[in-house]
Amino acid sequence: MSTIATSPATRRAPAQTAGRQETTWVVTVTVLLVALLGYFYFAVPDFRGLGASGILALSEQFLFTGLIALGEALVIFAGEIDLSTGAMASLSGIVMAALWQQGLNIWLAVVVALVVSALGGAVNGLFVTRFGINSLLVTLGTQFIFSSVATAVGGNSPPYNFPKSFVNLAGTGTVGPIPNQLIGFAVIAAAVWLLVARARYGRGLVLIGYNRAASRYSGVNVQRTLFGAFVLCGLLAGVAGIFVSGYYNAARDDIGDSLLLPAITVVVLGGVDIFGGRGRMSGVIVAVFLLGILNQGLLIRGNSSLTATMVEGVVLVLCLILKIALDRRAGVRLRELLHRRFAVARAPAAGGP
C-alpha cells in the first residue's frame, strides 16, 4: 500500500472580509466594460461612426433585459428565482395595448398593466411563501399561465401604432442625446440599488439569502420580505414590457420570451450568488451594460447574432472562472499585491510595507 504523508494544514485562511471581494468584482466588471467600449471604439469604425448619441441609443436594445435583471436580482438575492419574468413582460405589454385598443387612455392602460404585473408577482410570492413551494417550480408554472393569458388577450393581431406621445416618452424619444429609456432605467436602477444597499428592506432581503433560518430568529419577517421581492420582480418585468412595446411601437405575446435568460445571465455576471446572499446591486447594473454593449458591439462589427450569442456565453463562463479565482487564494494574493503597491505609491514617506 502506498504511503501518503499527512499534509499539515497549509491552506491559507480565506479572505476575511466579504465586502472587499464583492467590491473587487464590481470594479472588475466595470474595468471590463470600459475595456470593451475602448476596443469597439478604436477597433470598429462603424461603432465609432455612431457618435456619442448613437452609442447611447444602443442601450435601447438591451435596457428591457436590464429592467428584468433588476427585479430578478432582488429575487435571487433572497435565494429564490423567478422564471416567469419574460412572460410577465409580454403580458404587461399586451394588457396595456388591449386596454388602449378598447378606448382607455394609454397612460391609464400603462398603470393597469403595471398593477397586473405586480399582481402576477404577488401570485408567485404567495405560492412560494404561503404554500412553501419551490420558486423554480412555481414560476415555471406561472410562466405558462402568464404567457397563455397574454396570447388570449392579444388575439391574432395584437395592437400596434400607439399614440405618438407614448411612443416618444416610453419608447424612442430622447432628451438631448440621451434616450428617455436610459433615463428611466437610471432612475429605477438607482432606486433598486438604494433599496438593496441602504434600505431596511434590502438588508433583510440579503440576510435571508445568506441564512434564512437565522434571519427568522433575528426578527426578519421572511415571508413578507420574500413576497415583496416577487411583487417588485413582477412589477419591474411589467415596466420592461411597457418599454419594449413602446420601443417597437407594438405589443406581442412572445416579446418577452427572449429576455429571461439574458436577464439571469446579467445577474450572475454582476456577481450575485445564484444561491442568495452575496453580491452587489451595483455589479448587476454595470453588468447590464457590459453584456448589452458586448452584444450590440459585435452586431455592429458585422458578426451574426449567432456569433454574438456564442461570444456572450464564452464571456459569461470566463467571467465566472475569473470571479472564482478572485474569490480564492490567487485573488487574495493579487489583491494583497495591489494593496501593497497602492499603499507604497500613495504614502512613499511612510517607507512602504
Binding site: 499527512t6 438588508r203 437565522a214 427568522r216 433575528s218 426578519v220 446572499g277
Partner: protein, 545 residues
C-alpha cells in the same frame, strides 16, 4: 440495485477484497487469513497511533496536540466530559474528520488523507453512537454493503454464501436473529451488534465504539461488553468512548482522559480509580465551582416574564413559570425534554396550542420574533451556526441584524456611520475580539461569535433574555466570560432564562432551576438546593418532586 452497489467499488485496487471476499487480504499487515465459508477467524490487531492531533471547527479548537496509541488485544477507553474532544478524536482516527495537523500511524504505516472508506479498507471501523444501518435492507445486505460477493456468473451476486457467512458473524457477536431480517426490525442494541459484525465482515481489526452504551439498557450494555471482551481475547484493537466511568473501569485495560481538547492523563486501568478519573475529567471545574454571583433577593422585584400553561404539542405541555427582574432561571433537562421548544414557543417561532406569555405584566399575543424583540424579549438560539450567525456576513451586520427596523435613518436610508457606531458600542460591551467590524463572523472563534450574538441582543435593549446553551461550541476560557457577562446583565436588571445541558453551568449561574422531563416541568430548585446531586435524578425523570 445490488449489482450497482458492487459496481460502486471504485478503483480496481479496492476491488480486491470484494472479489476475494473473506479470504485473506494483504499479506504483511499482520492479520491471519481466514478461509472462505468458514466464518470468522481469529485475527491479530494492529497498533494504531495518533500523534499531536489537532482540530478546530469555526475557529474553536476542539482537539489540541493529542497523542494516543491503541494497542492490539486491549480495550483502550477515552473519557471526558461533553465537549472534551472524545468524539472528535475517534472521528479523526476513523477518517470522518481530517485533522488540522498531526499524523496517524497504523502498524508501521503512516496514513494520510484518510476517508471513512479508506479507513475501513485499512481495517479501521467506527461503531457510531446511533447505528447507521440502512433500515429497509436486510442484515446480510447491511453487512456486505461495499463488498458484495460476485457469483459464479461474475455479474450476479452470491447471496447464498453471504447469508451463510452472515449467520456465522451474527453468532460471533452473540446475535440470534435471521440474516434475512430487515435492520428496522431490530432494537437499537441489536443494531449496534450488527454494526459490530459489520466491522468483522469488513475484516477490520481496529474497532472504535463511540459512546455505544448511551442508548442501551444495562443488560444490553452487558451483552455488548461480552462481545468486546471476546474480541479483545482474539487480539483486536478496541477503542471505547464513554463518559460513564463505571463502565470504563469495568472493561478497560487502558484509559486516556481528555479535557477541553487536550490529553490530561493516560494510564493503565490498574493505575487509576474513579476518583482519579473524575479529577482528571473535571479538574478545572472544581476550581470554579463557586457561584458567579451572590444570593438573589427576589423581594420587591417585578415579575418580568410570566409563562402560564404554555403548550405546544407534541413537544411540551402545561409549562408555567416566571422570571423576575434581575433573576437567572435555569431550564435543565435532557436533549429532547422540551427546553428549546419552550424557548422557541415563547419567542414566537413555534406555534402555541394554548397558554399565555406576559412580559412585564403585558400579555404578548400572536408572537413573532419581531414582536418579541420589539417588546424587549430576545432569544439566543442553541444552534449558533444555523440559527444565530450569518457566517458569510461581516460582524457589523451580524450584530445589527436584530434591530434592522430601529437603525438610525435619513429618510428611508440607513445611516452607515450611525450603524457602525451602534455595532461598535455593542461589541465593545461584550468585548468581542476581532480584526475589525468588517471581519466575516465565521473567522471569529466560537466564543467571540457568541459574544457577537450577545451584542446583537443587547442592541435591542431587552428586559428578558433566553440564553439557549450559550456556551456550546465555545472554548473553555470563554465560557467563564459568558457566565460573567450573563451575571452582569442580570445585575443590571435583565431577567434571564438560562438553558443548559451542563449541570455545572446551572449550579454556578442560576438563582433558580426548573427541570424538564419529557415535555413537562418536573421539578424546581432554588438557591443552595441547586446541586448536581439534586438535579441529576430529576433530569433523568427518576424522581418527581
Amino acid at each position: 440495485m445490488h449489482l450497482s452497489l458492487a459496481g460502486h467499488m471504485g478503483p480496481s485496487a479496492e476491488q480486491v477484497p470484494a472479489e476475494r471476499g473473506l479470504l485473506s487480504r494483504e499479506p504483511g499487515t499482520g492479520r491471519l487469513s481466514g478461509e472462505a465459508g468458514r466464518g470468522p477467524a481469529p485475527l491479530v490487531g494492529m497498533r494504531y497511533q495518533g500523534r499531536s492531533l489537532t482540530k478546530s471547527f469555526d475557529g474553536a479548537t476542539v482537539l489540541s496536540q493529542v497523542d494516543i496509541a491503541f494497542e492490539p488485544g486491549e480495550i483502550h477507553s477515552v473519557v471526558g466530559e461533553n465537549g472534551a474532544g472524545k468524539s472528535t478524536l475517534v472521528k479523526i482516527m476513523a477518517g470522518i474528520y481530517q485533522p488540522d495537523s498531526g499524523e496517524l500511524t497504523l502498524g508501521e504505516e503512516r496514513l494520510g488523507g484518510l476517508s471513512p472508506r479508506s479507513a475501513q479498507h485499512r481495517g479501521i471501523y467506527l461503531v457510531p453512537q446511533e447505528p447507521a444501518l440502512m433500515q429497509s435492507l436486510s442484515i446480510t445486505e447491511n453487512l456486505f454493503v461495499g463488498i458484495l460477493r460476485r457469483g459464479r456468473l461474475r455479474f450476479n451476486v452470491d447471496w447464498r454464501s453471504m447469508r451463510r457467512e452472515a449467520s456465522a458473524y451474527l453468532a460471533r457477536v452473540g446475535l440470534d436473529v435471521s440474516p434475512e431480517q430487515k435492520a428496522e426490525e431490530l432494537s437499537i442494541a441489536q443494531q449496534q451488534l450488527v454494526e459490530c459484525a459489520r466491522a468483522l465482515v469488513h475484516r477490520c481489526v481496529v474497532i472504535f465504539f463511540d459512546e455505544p452504551t448511551s442508548p442501551l439498557t444495562a443488560k444490553e450494555a452487558g451483552t455488548l461488553f461480552e462481545v468486546m471482551g471476546s474480541l479483545r481475547a482474539d487480539g483486536y484493537t478496541l477503542g471505547f468512548i464513554s463518559h460513564r466511568l463505571d463502565e470504563v473501569l469495568a472493561i478497560s485495560d487502558r484509559v486516556t482522559v481528555l479535557r477541553d481538547g487536550g490529553k490530561v492523563m493516560a494510564a493503565l486501568r490498574s493505575e487509576v480509580d474513579k476518583a482519579v478519573l473524575v479529577k482528571g475529567m473535571v479538574g478545572r471545574e472544581l476550581t470554579t465551582q463557586e457561584r458567579v454571583r451572590p444570593h438573589f433577593d427576589a423581594t420587591g422585584r417585578q415579575e418580568m416574564l410570566a409563562v402560564e400553561d404554555l403548550t405546544s404539542q407534541p413537544a411540551f405541555e402545561g409549562v408555567t413559570f416566571s422570571v423576575r427582574e434581575g433573576e437567572i432561571v435555569g431550564l435543565a433537562g435532557l436533549v429532547g425534554s422540551g427546553r428549546t421548544e419552550v424557548a422557541e414557543t415563547i419567542f414566537g417561532i413555534r406555534s402555541t396550542d394554548r397558554g399565555t406569555v406576559r412580559l412585564a405584566g403585558k400579555p404578548l399575543q400572536h408572537r413573532t420574533p419581531r414582536t418579541c424583540i420589539d417588546a424587549g424579549l430576545v432569544y439566543l438560539p442553541e444552534d449558533r451556526g444555523r440559527h444565530g450567525i450569518f457566517a458569510e456576513v461581516e460582524v457589523e451586520r451580524n450584530v445589527t441584524a436584530g434591530v434592522i427596523p430601529h437603525l438610525d435613518r435619513a429618510g428611508p436610508l440607513i445611516k452607515p456611520a450611525a450603524e457602525r457606531l451602534m455595532a461598535k458600542q455593542a461589541t465593545d460591551r461584550t468585548a468581542v475580539r476581532m480584526a475589525s467590524l468588517d471581519t466575516l463572523i465565521k473567522a471569529l472563534s466560537g466564543g467571540n461569535q457568541q459574544r457577537a450574538m450577545l451584542s446583537r441582543w443587547l442592541l435591542a435593549n431587552p428586559r428578558v433574555a433566553i440564553f439557549d446553551e450559550p456556551t456550546r461550541g465555545v472554548d473553555v476560557g470563554a465560557k467563564d466570560d459568558i457566565y460573567q457577562l450573563v451575571a452582569q446583565l442580570a445585575e443590571e436588571g435583565l431577567a434571564c432564562v438560562f438553558i443548559s445541558s451542563e449541570l455545572s453551568e446551572l449550579t454556578i449561574t442560576c438563582d433558580r432551576v426548573l427541570v424538564m422531563y419529557e415535555g413537562r416541568v418536573v421539578g424546581e430548585l432554588s438557591g443552595t438546593e441547586i446541586t448536581d446531586a439534586n438535579l441529576g435524578p430529576l433530569i433523568v425523570g427518576a424522581q418527581h418532586k
